[in-house]
């Protein structure tokens, strides 16, 4: 095979790799959103961040390190919604609206009433639940699909 043909093949190979990268990103985004494994945080109709169970776990570790809570405490696997929103760069909003995988599940609260007791906890299925840790560990949303920050 001549060098010119190999150059063309090389260019095609590059296009295939770049295309595969876009395809993988799109697939992860669509599948994750449909199954609530990836949660978009939306502000002013713009997605400012994505979070998943892995991110929640890392934020939990950071929050616990900051507040010096021991690992043996009963709220392991949970991070406050307030801390998550602060970490993803959410600011200048009045309401928080959290939508569940089941369309009937929607939870809305004023930012000023945001309580550290409202925590996010990762489920076995890789989704994230919202719980009120003080009110008898009441499950507010079983599997979060979207978080909206409204002005």
């Amino acid at each position: 095979m001549k060098i010119d043909k190999r150059i063309v093949l090389g260019l095609i190979f590059i296009v295939v790799i770049v295309g595969s990268a876009f395809l993988l990103e799109h697939t992860v985004k669509v599948q994750g959103s449909n199954s609530a494994r990836i949660i978009p945080v939306i502000q002013n109709n713009e997605t400012i961040a994505f979070v998943d169970a892995g991110v929640i776990e890392q934020l939990r570790e950071q929050e616990h390190a900051m507040r010096e809570v021991s690992e043996g405490s009963d709220n392991t696997g949970e991070v406050s919604l307030e801390f998550v929103l602060g970490s993803v760069g959410g600011f200048d909003y009045r309401y928080i609206e959290v939508k569940g995988l089941d369309d009937s599940e929607t939870w809305r609260l004023e930012q000023s009433k945001l309580d550290p007791a409202i925590v996010l906890s990762s489920n076995m299925s890789g989704t994230v639940a919202m719980i009120n840790s003080e009110d008898g560990r009441q499950i507010l949303i079983k599997a979060i699909k979207e978080i909206h920050l409204i002005k």
């Binding site: 060098i3 190999r6 590059i14 993988l24 992860v28 994505f50 776990e57």
Partner: protein
């Protein structure tokens, strides 16, 4: 020992370092080590505030392609990858710990096979750019695989992967093309390098 054996031994002893490793002489290995060191050091010293993923490929892949073009023998990419990978681990470059070695080694290994496919014509701008882009993409793929192995959340790994692949391609190709120009100018002057 009979006469032919003695002559063979004498010939081997007269040039003991002609074939040190991968058909490379000791002088070649020293030059390749220099290129490998340059790759690791440049990554450590040059911190261009571009905030674009893969921008370091412009000099990283450039130096790799240049080393391979000036010492066009199989194994030269592997040696540069080995040296830069070991130095990256020792200098503590990257966030992957000892696994950072693979990020430096795999592009070198890939370049050895790519150069064979392109008949070692790395002085051609097209070949240099394609090789630079492909080895830059191989670095991105190693990053992705290391992230999966190290349990980094998929959100961090997959989001923006398309854009990252484009920047890796562009910077890698730019580095490879620049290296091709340098090889074209330098190669005739290095005819008696040995």
């Amino acid at each position: 020992m009979n006469q032919p054996e003695k002559e063979e031994l004498a010939a081997e002893l007269s040039s003991p370092l002609d074939r040190f490793m991968f058909d490379l002489g000791l002088a070649d290995l020293m030059r390749l080590s220099m290129f490998g060191t340059l790759i690791a050091i440049s990554k450590y010293v040059l911190r261009i505030p571009m905030h674009l993923p893969g921008h370091s490929s412009i000099y990283w892949m450039g130096l790799l392609v240049m080393g391979k073009g000036l010492i066009p023998k199989f194994g030269s990419g592997i040696i540069m990858g080995l040296v830069s990978g070991i130095l990256a681990v020792v200098l503590g470059l990257g966030k992957e710990g000892v696994f950072v070695f693979f990020k430096y080694f795999i592009p070198g290994l890939g370049l050895d096979f790519l150069a064979v496919l392109f008949f070692y014509k790395l002085e051609s701008i097209w070949v240099g750019a394609i090789c630079g882009a492909l080895i830059s993409l191989s670095k991105m793929l190693v990053n992705l695989l290391l992230g999966i192995a190290l349990n980094i959340p998929m959100v961090f790994l997959a989001m923006g992967l398309g854009f990252t692949s484009i920047t890796h391609t562009v910077f890698g190709a730019a580095g490879g093309a620049l290296a091709a120009i340098v090889i074209k100018r330098l190669k005739p002057r290095l005819a008696n390098w040995e």
